[in-house]
């Protein structure tokens, strides 16, 4: 990220902020959508994060850390929206199931369903680690920095989350095997 832009935005330059926001907005929405599994919540989280970035930019101590700091705000916004999810879950418009594509490497459509339900059972803490590590390809040290937790905590959250997702996939496999046997 261009630190000159960050510094200008810190001093209230709206044009500089608009450049920054344009550069990160799509990526933020993609990350929020994957954490929250709901496009409405993801848009709200992205909007809250982008506004928080503008509002709190003067308090960013080191402009070179903008990327880490801004992702932290996004994850916080996802936490806040995640709380709404619990409160308003019955009224949510959920994402439609993704259509398989030719390039799809899923073993089965059922995997998607199992992953979706397994992922939704995870806390936002665990989802965030999975998305930052497996979607953004960030090393766990960086994930820990973004989330403001020790590296060991990031490791254990990833381990726990992946164990849960694996269990979800295995449950589907067992169910399929039973159906075949019958």
């Amino acid at each position: 990220m261009d630190t000159d832009l960050v510094v200008r935005a810190q001093h209230g330059d709206k044009e500089a902020y608009a450049f920054l926001a344009t550069e990160i907005a799509d990526r933020f929405l993609a990350v929020a959508r994957r954490i929250l599994r709901d496009i409405d919540l993801a848009e709200d989280a992205t909007q809250q994060a982008l506004l928080a970035i503008w509002r709190d930019l003067p308090q960013l101590r080191d402009p070179a850390r903008f990327d880490a700091w801004s992702y932290r705000l996004l994850v916080r916004a996802c936490y806040a929206e995640g709380r709404k999810e619990r409160r308003w879950a019955p009224n949510l418009r959920l994402l439609p199931a993704d259509e398989p594509t030719a390039a799809d490497s899923f073993d089965s459509v059922a995997d998607r369903d199992q992953l979706e339900s397994g992922f939704r059972r995870l806390s936002i803490d665990h989802r965030a680690v999975v998305v930052l590590h497996h979607y953004l390809d960030l090393p766990l040290e960086r994930v820990a920095e973004l989330l403001g937790v020790p590296v060991g905590t990031a490791h254990s959250r990833l381990h726990y989350a992946m164990r849960g997702l694996r269990a979800a996939l295995d449950a589907d496999a067992r169910s399929t095997a039973r159906e075949v046997a019958q």
Binding site: R61, Y79, H134, Y135, G148, L169
Partner: protein
């Protein structure tokens, strides 16, 4: 049964399947709201410039030495030759009298510095290598740091007057405590120790330069979980005092002739133990006087 590798492959493929959503609508809405969304002033009135590395630090320190030399020449010209007397500037050898703490962003040479007017308590402090001014002296706060004020290994201290705390430290918009925090040292020590995400020691009696008060330490953990919007402790003229996950604070709260002075020495998980010891020694050897 799937293996770990299968699970990772399937999860990565699932997350990366092509589902591009444009954030244009969100972006338009955000940009429309900028005019009605004021920026929050920084707790620190100035930040270090990006890219201030060791080379720049050395260059600035060298420049300061040149300034010291020039000032020395001016002073040694004797009375009547130069203009008004210039306050001694810190030099690599100990300065004979404390120098008023300069403005934010200034790197300091080792020496004795005075945090004075407009701050209502005068605090003289001896600083060693690699210190800088983080927050200029204001009527209620001033701050210095060593090496860096940031995670993972920064350290420094803040002298501040704390009149009240946020009623909900997780929500700055909640406003201040009402009724407000009591005026005593004990009131503040107890309130700080009980804030969320704060693993605090029991406040104990302490004395610095003849002024008594309370000392406590706390470490911030789980802020992200407990306060997704961040944790703020108290307001100041320079913005709210934010707490960071993993931050460790050694806090002295002193009664300086009915002025409640707070000295907040902060460090992080990666701060070397020797630096934390030095930090504590610096605070404990402070010279404190009521302001005029």
């Amino acid at each position: 049964m799937s293996t770990d590798r299968d699970t990772t492959r399937i999860v990565r493929s699932w997350l990366k399947s092509d589902q591009h959503e444009s954030a244009d609508r969100v972006l338009d809405s955000v940009l429309d709201q900028l005019d009605t969304t004021p920026q929050r002033r920084a707790w620190w009135p100035a930040r270090r410039l990006p890219g201030m590395n060791q080379a720049m630090r050395i260059a600035l320190a060298s420049a300061a030495v040149v300034v010291v030399a020039l000032i020395g020449i001016t002073l040694f010209r004797g009375p009547g030759i130069g203009s008004d007397p210039i306050a001694p500037t810190p030099s690599p050898s100990a300065a004979p009298s404390p120098v008023a703490l300069p403005g934010a962003g200034t790197l300091l040479l080792p020496g004795s510095y005075l945090i004075g007017d407009p701050f209502p308590v005068h605090v003289t402090v001896d600083l060693g290598e690699n210190w800088g001014v983080w927050g200029s002296v204001a009527p209620d706060v001033a701050a210095v740091y060593q090496e860096t004020p940031d995670v993972p290994d920064g350290r420094g201290f803040i002298v501040v007057l704390v009149d009240n705390l946020y009623s909900d430290p997780c929500d700055q918009a909640s406003g201040l405590m009402d009724p407000p925090l009591g005026p005593t040292v004990d009131d503040l020590a107890s309130a700080l120790a009980n804030q969320p995400s704060t693993d605090a020691s029991e406040p104990i009696d302490v004395t610095i330069d003849g002024y008594s008060g309370k000392y406590l330490e706390y470490t911030m953990t789980g802020i992200t979980e407990e306060c997704p919007g961040g944790l703020v402790r108290w307001p100041s003229s320079q913005g709210p005092r934010q707490a960071l996950d993993g931050e460790h604070d050694q806090v002295w709260i002193l009664d300086v002739e009915r002025v409640r002075l707070v000295i907040d020495a902060f460090s992080f998980r990666g701060t070397p133990a020797a630096a934390m010891t030095e930090l504590r020694q610096i605070v404990e050897s402070m010279q404190i006087e009521p302001g005029t």
